[in-house]
Symmetry: C2
Subunit: 404 residues, 2 copies
């Protein structure tokens, strides 16, 4: 994100707008008198949460699904992203007649606290100074993100969410929701995630943060006020992270050792290989849509995530007494959040006799599989939602033609 | 490496010095009249190769073992490294009575072409300009490194090496030696390596290169002449690479989510976790011993490595007619050069009915296992060398007490 695009960002979150495409874009301001009490002990207020909704909340307010986005995701889950012009990041999963059916459910997706697409984050103006927070923004946790979301759900007048669904860091939020608000979550779908961030994942995040902080244009976090952007550092961070989102098999199939628009090696440091060119592109386009400090804060929140540690080092304690129905999903080739980390969640749920299904989806797409059109994954989500909807006494789905 | 340490570097390679510790440190200058013909088509000359030897060459010159070092290794395989003060990188494997027994074998290890510890590389003075080569150094290949080594072996008057041994990029050199100089290699031990560099590995290297090049102190490769060093960029590159050298299990065992000298999270961007602190240390110490442009050139050489492509896209062709005895070694938890890539080498050797043993060593240390004290690995190397020595008509080993 360049300093110049902040106006564009603001335009993207004007509230509330129903542009006829089925999405309502909105944001809600929580006043300084109702600050967020953070896990660090400090308070944050006022603060804003930007969010999108799709579909209609029923009279009983029993058909709301909260979707939690991942590290670099946003609230534009099923509409054209106003910043990038690309389809929403889960637009094949969420929409009319889709597995998360916006004809039947009221779908909510909010930009996380600490994000950079309308919710309060390090790029926001600090009311105490009139300048961007930068590093004066408090370090937040996944729990803080969920607290902020719960304020939004209060604001929408919803007591219990029918479902909370998310992948990767979104899955961490799902677990935190289920642990913090047992009575407010009827069903939970944590996908391609873990109950704690592994040392390898912390390590990759630390590399990314150091890349950003090594960029002189980062200006110790103060770049927005100085009118610059640590483009190079953030691009390197994104490149390193992007490798972890793909499986080695996916890299073989996508690129192999193919050269990029050339017949032979150039014997230079040009992007000879397609995989190099692809990564450079991933790095440079990311910088146009994401704030570097947000990247620091959000990766830090993920590193800090350890649901067992929050509950006396026993993960099962997080779920004791839960009546939520869980569907835990992992992907075979995901090495960032491997299946064994999903099994740990399932084991903890089993230990408290929770209602849990677990599906490991065969895919060679790596961690990114949760964002792709994976038929078995879609069928799993659809089936789980149907069965929970029946239990919840929601109307049956119309006969679907198409995916099953 | 800072500009100031270049004197220290020069001291480290004065030639030839036998300091009584059993190592002879030397270097040889090849004149401009005998340039190296590079794979790129250009020529490099004059050039220097710095090398160490251990033990005594027998009269028949039949007991020489060439050890090839990895990306950030050097010729100080079994002596105290004069730059870091640390033991040689394979000092537990190479020495009197050790699996590579310097009481019986004449062990040679040279700093690779493109390196920064005495052999000609991008930090060397370009005789055409009187300044460091920087990016005027030609892009080289693994084959070029081996060509330069072969000049050294010629210089030492050795027709046939008893063995060529190396891990990681050292293993690539072993394979290239066996392919280029079939009659000069009696036995070959490629360890934790591959016959071609995978797209995932290219991707990680590209991230490292971009991190270096993103550092304004890199000065488009001209930093040495401008009296600066791209410390931050090179440190980030090293951090990213270092993660790939360890297995996830090793990271769990070494660090887990343990905090570094603190009772709780600091809610800051300090190195709260041990794994962060460890990585930062790896990054910052690396900069003191390695040249950033060397890092670019050597990673590029690895990316370009594809032994099959050099032989009509059929790997077996590289070994057709070979009489070399091979011992291929991989490690179970090495995800940088996974066992399946070693199997491809073995299959190619089988296809030409070569003499090959293959051992996959059980280890949870990741790629780094090849540098560690792994008893099964040591026993494998010792056993293979013994059997080859018998075949070669070299004297039997004295009865060993200790490792088997």
């Amino acid at each position: 994100m360049t300093a110049d695009t902040s106006e564009e960002f603001k335009k993207a979150v004007v509230s509330p707008v129903d542009d006829g495409s089925g999405v309502v874009r909105a944001s809600v301001d929580f006043p300084a008198s109702e600050p967020l009490k953070l896990d660090s002990g400090s308070e944050l207020g006022p603060f804003t949460i930007a969010y999108n909704t799709y579909g209609t909340l029923n009279a009983a307010k029993s058909n709301a699904i909260l979707i939690c986005h991942a590290l670099t995701g946003d609230q534009h889950v099923a509409n054209i992203n106003p910043l990038t012009g690309k389809p929403g990041w889960w637009s094949h999963l969420v929409g009319p007649g889709k597995p998360i059916d916006t004809d039947r459910f009221f779908v909510i997706c909010s930009n996380i606290l600490g994000g950079c697409l309308g919710s309060t984050g390090p790029a926001s103006i600090n009311p105490a100074t009139g300048k961007s927070f930068g590093l004066n923004f408090p370090v937040i946790t996944i729990g803080d993100m969920v607290e902020a979301q719960s304020r939004l759900i209060d604001h929408l007048g919803i007591d219990q969410l029918f479902a909370v669904i998310g992948g990767s860091m979104g899955g961490m939020q799902v677990l935190e929701w289920a642990a913090r608000y047992k009575d407010r979550v009827f069903a939970a779908v944590p996908i391609a995630t873990a109950a704690w961030h592994s040392p390898q994942n912390i390590a990759f995040h630390e590399v990314g943060r150091q890349a950003v902080m090594a960029d002189p244009e980062w200006k110790r976090g103060d770049y927005l006020d100085q009118g610059v952007v640590p483009r190079n550092g953030l691009a390197v961070a994104r490149m390193a992270a992007h490798i972890t989102y793909l499986s080695e098999d996916a890299l073989h199939e996508k690129f192999g050792r193919n050269l990029q628009n050339r017949a032979d090696r150039t014997f230079s440091f040009d992007a000879d290989f397609q995989v190099e060119s692809y990564l450079r592109h991933q790095g440079s386009t990311f910088v146009d849509r994401f704030d570097a400090n947000s990247y620091l804060y959000i990766t830090r929140a993920m590193d800090y995530f350890d649901l067992a540690a929050e509950h006396g080092d026993v993960l099962a304690n997080a779920f004791r007494g839960t009546r939520t129905r869980f569907c835990v999903v992992s992907f075979t080739s995901d090495w960032l959040y491997p299946t064994r980390e999903s099994r740990e969640i399932v084991q903890a749920l089993n230990a408290v006799a929770a209602n849990v299904s677990f599906v490991e989806i065969e895919s060679n797409a790596g961690h990114d599989a949760f964002l792709l059109d994976e038929p078995e994954f879609f069928a799993t989500v659809r089936g789980f939602i149907e069965s929970c909807a029946t239990r919840r006494g929601l109307p049956l789905a119309p006969i679907a033609d198409g995916d099953a």
